[in-house]
Each structure stands twice: as C-alpha cells, then as structure tokens.
Symmetry: C2
Subunit: 310 residues, 2 copies
C-alpha cells in the first residue's frame, strides 16, 4: 500500500535509524534513496529529539512538503523521543509493520517501530531496538530467511545473536563486545602503547582468537585479558599486534559463546559494518562455521521501507 | 642490620608504595610510622618522578637530614623513575632485599624493589610490581605463611592471585577485575541509571554472584554482562542493585576462575583494602573457601622496612 497525503498518492517518505550514538536519515522514493543526512544519536542530543529531527529534514520539507517518517532504534526507548513498547518474542518482524507507535509533530506523521524483548538462551531478559528493522529488511531482501531455521549475527557496540525460525525471531542474545573493546582501547593500560587509530592487525587477531580457544573451558576473559599487556612487556609482542590480540580474544569469545548458547549451525548470516563482519567471519571460520554477509544499512532501509509500504 | 649515615647509626628511613594511580610515602622509625604523605601515581605525574619525590620529602629532610628511601611499585617500571628488572619466579620475596636497584639523587640513597615475573597457571607471562613487597611484609608479619602452601589474593585494580610455597612465590595471575568494574561504571550504559557514588548493594552483589555461578560453564562475561541493563529495563531491578549485580558478576567470576586455575584451598589470605576484601571474602565463602584478611598498607610498609633492615 502506498501513502496518501492531501489526496495525492505518493511514494516519498523519510526513513531513520536513530541509535544511541548516531542518527542516519534517508529521503526515500520507494526503494530508491534520494538523499541522506546524519545527526546526533539519542545519547548525544544537544537540543530535543523533536528539534533535532525537524531541523535536519527542513530542506526536504521545503522541496517535497510534509512527508511521513519511519524511525527505528533507541529513539523509541524510555530516554528517546517517545517510548514505543517492546514486542515479545517469538515475533515475526513483518508483524511489526502494524504496531508502530504513531504521533504527529508540526504536521508530520511520525512512526517509531517497536523493539523486541525475549528470554535469551541463558534465561535472562534481553532487548533490541533498531535491529528488528534490519532483520525485517534482511528477510525481505533474502526470502530464504523466511523459511527454516537460521542464526543471524549483527555485530556492533552491542552485538545481537538472533535465532530465526520461519521468519520469526525466536530468541536473541546481546553481547556488549564492541563496547568492551572500545572502552579497553580508550581507557585501559592493555593497549596503551599503540596509537588510538591503530586497527586490529590480522596477525594479532589470529593470535588472540587462538589464545581464547586454547584457554576455553579453563579460564575466561578476566583470566586472559591481562596477557594483552604482559605479552608486550615480556614476550616482545608488538604494540600494534596487541590491539589485534585484544580484538581476537573478545570476538573469538563472543562467537564461541554464542555457538555454545544457540548451537552450532552450518552457516551464520552476518548483518552489519563490512570490516567488523569480516572479523566475525574469521572467528566463525575458525569454529568451522560458514557465513553470508548482508549490508546492515541496506537491511535497515529495506525494513523501514516495508513498514512504510504496509 | 641498621643503616649508617655520616657515621651516625640510625633507624629512620622513607618507605614508598608508588603505583600507577597513587604514591604513598611514609617516614618510618623502625616499625613506627612517624608521618605520611600522598602524591601522584606514576601515570599521573605533572613533573618528573625525581622532582615529585624531592618536593614531597622536603619537610622530612629539613628536620631529619638525608634519609635513605625504599620504593616499590610501578616506579620501577619502564615508564617509571628507573627501571628495576623483574625477578623470575619461583622467587622468595625475602631474597629481593639483596637485589633492589640502588641509585643516588641529590645526595639521597634511593632503592627500588624489583617486581616479579612468572609463567602463570594458564602458561602466559605475568608480572607484578609492588605486590611483592606486600607479600614480603605478609610473610614477616604472619610467619605461618613461610611454611607450607598458601593461596593469597591481593584484590585491586589489577587483582593478583599468588601461590606461595614455603614462603616462595611459585606463580601468580593478574585479573584486571577492578579496572573493568571502574571502566564499566564510568563509561558504559550498564549501570548509568545509578549515581556515580552508588556502592555495590549487598542484595545486588549476591544476585550477580549467584547469576555468574548459575551460568558458569555455559557462558562467560560477554554473554551475561548485558543482563545488568536488561534486568533494570524488564525485570524491575533497582538501579542501585545493578551496581552490586555488576560487581558480583565480576568478583564472582574472578574468584571462581582463580580457584579453577590454582585449585581450591581450604583458606585464602586476602591482602588489601578492607571493603574490597570483604566482597572477595563473600565470593570465596560462596565457593566454600574460608579467608583471613591482612591489611595491605601494613604489609607494604612491613615489606619495605624489611628491605631497609636487611
């Protein structure tokens, strides 16, 4: 279905992925993205969410008039713009199209997609906001995901591991792997000797991943992380490889832990930033698991478009 | 033996525990501490280590003349004042008395106690600087530690677990548990809702410790830490209890991991800050292990005094 505004049938809309650290807005015409704008995340607002949003879309409004907007992510959290309730798993992301929180702002229709909540494989409550729209988009772009069982991983600040069955999210688990890595890089002594911009070297990554696997079952992160420092002090590890070592310990531990919790599939679908997805792919390969990579941005906008077109 | 300065037999000396974050200096007369001064850690110097040291002891010099100084901790690291080499384990801390790095500064004799290095129970290199002097003091204050096997824990920013046999350090392991907790408290979303000064509540601590034990073997920190947030969002956990939950997950994981690595003794000697030692004692009790608490400051000065009196 397409939207009507003032009696004119139109396919123009605004889609926005508004997370804690970043807002990514797109002016869409059906499947085509006509323009993009970036703004501050919900955790970095200097003025209200409403003022931020209206100021960013001003140019689009001037040209195209009042367009409906579809938003996902932390914008729907308690500390966001308006709180959108969580849908409870098992939940088919396609059903979210009917349950968006809708409100009007300065004559514009805005809809916020609800997040998901579940009891994760360890029996704890878990939540997502924003990834449900990426998953919806992934299902629509890759119809094979709507049949059978699949394990998805959405690596990031808070990585999500998602068990999908016949296109419905059964359960998922959040691992704050990216946040950990960033905190340790920025503030700890572990990799202080490497410049802030030093990426994870492949050699260091492989070594960290192997070390995590070697000590698995005998020890956890608390017992192995300090090696990142001592291998530089005593073993002659290069400072740049220490960054990779840290990344390998963390991502290897994330992947192995998730495979323990969800069971080991033949294939994992990786949705997200290509550089980060490549590291997860390597850790999966080390565990004998294949992967297929989907672009996170494509999936998010496909999901929001589907909500617009419901 | 007592020191001679200018032909006068004297028992006055300066003892200093100079770590990354803090310098604690004491003017000692044998076992008596006459005065104390605190200064910046090696990682927080605004002027050189030498200038910092000389300015802090100026008053003591004016009254008592040139006194010998005995220092331990990161002051002896590569980025400290002068690098003191590590002694290799197994090492009897009492033997460190003969191997201090000695140099003169503005007419003062300064000695820096070497740190220790070992291959830890996981086969990785490990290091300590400063704790060896606390261990030496602990052995001297508690002669029972000089006979038989003992497991010591020195909880802190970088907790040290130490296997002692007949007064000799066989091996040890560093767990950056305190650093982790501080980083997550200061920067992550996990406990953001609680005020910065919120201590770990007993109820939250017990819950976190129990949860870590419940998931042990099935999952690690990466898989459980996010619960600190979701239990507040979904389960109604109070923000203040979330701080305790985080602490319980981390300290419980530290204790259980160490008992796995070193074997489970009847008793662990805890050396350090009383409030932190109490949390470790609780986690040990939960694993069926008794504890005896020794004051960290007393042990450090007793160790440095022994080096002065060698």
């Amino acid at each position: 279905m397409i939207a009507r505004t003032g009696g004119v049938i139109q396919s123009l809309f605004i889609a926005g992925d508004w997370g804690t650290t970043r807002l990514r807005l797109a002016l869409c015409d059906g499947a085509a993205i006509l323009d993009r704008k970036d703004g501050p995340g919900i955790g970095a607002l200097t003025v209200s969410a409403e003022a931020t949003f209206l100021s960013l879309i001003m140019d689009w409004r001037r040209i195209h008039g009042d367009l409906p907007a579809y938003l996902c992510g932390m914008v729907g959290s308690r500390n966001g713009w308006h709180e959108a309730p969580y849908a409870v798993c098992p939940a088919d992301p396609r059903s979210l199209r009917g349950s968006a929180l809708r409100f009007a702002v300065d004559g514009l229709d805005v809809a916020i997609v609800p997040g998901l909540t579940c009891s994760n494989p360890l029996g704890a409550p878990d939540v997502m906001r924003g990834e449900e729209s990426q998953i919806l988009g992934a299902i629509l772009l890759h119809p094979a995901l709507s049949r059978g069982k699949h394990l998805l991983a959405l690596p990031g600040t808070h990585t999500k591991w998602v068990a999908l069955e016949d296109g419905s999210v059964q359960r998922f688990m959040t691992t704050p792997t990216g946040e950990f890595f960033a905190l340790l890089r920025a503030h700890s002594q572990l990799t202080k000797a490497a410049p802030d911009t030093q990426p994870a070297t492949p050699a260091g990554f492989v070594q960290g991943m192997a070390r995590g696997r070697e000590t698995r079952g005998r020890a956890g992160l608390l017992q192995t992380l300090f090696e990142t420092r001592t291998r530089q002090l005593i073993d002659g590890m290069k400072a740049e490889d220490a960054v990779g070592f840290l990344s390998g310990l963390l991502i290897g531990g994330d992947v192995d832990g998730a495979l323990d919790c969800f069971g080991k599939p033949r294939l994992v679908h990786l949705i997200g930033d290509p550089a980060l997805a490549a590291l997860y792919a390597e850790a999966l390969a080390g565990a004998g698991v294949a992967n297929e990579k989907l672009d996170g941005g494509d999936c998010a906008f496909a999901g929001l478009r589907a909500i617009f077109e419901r």
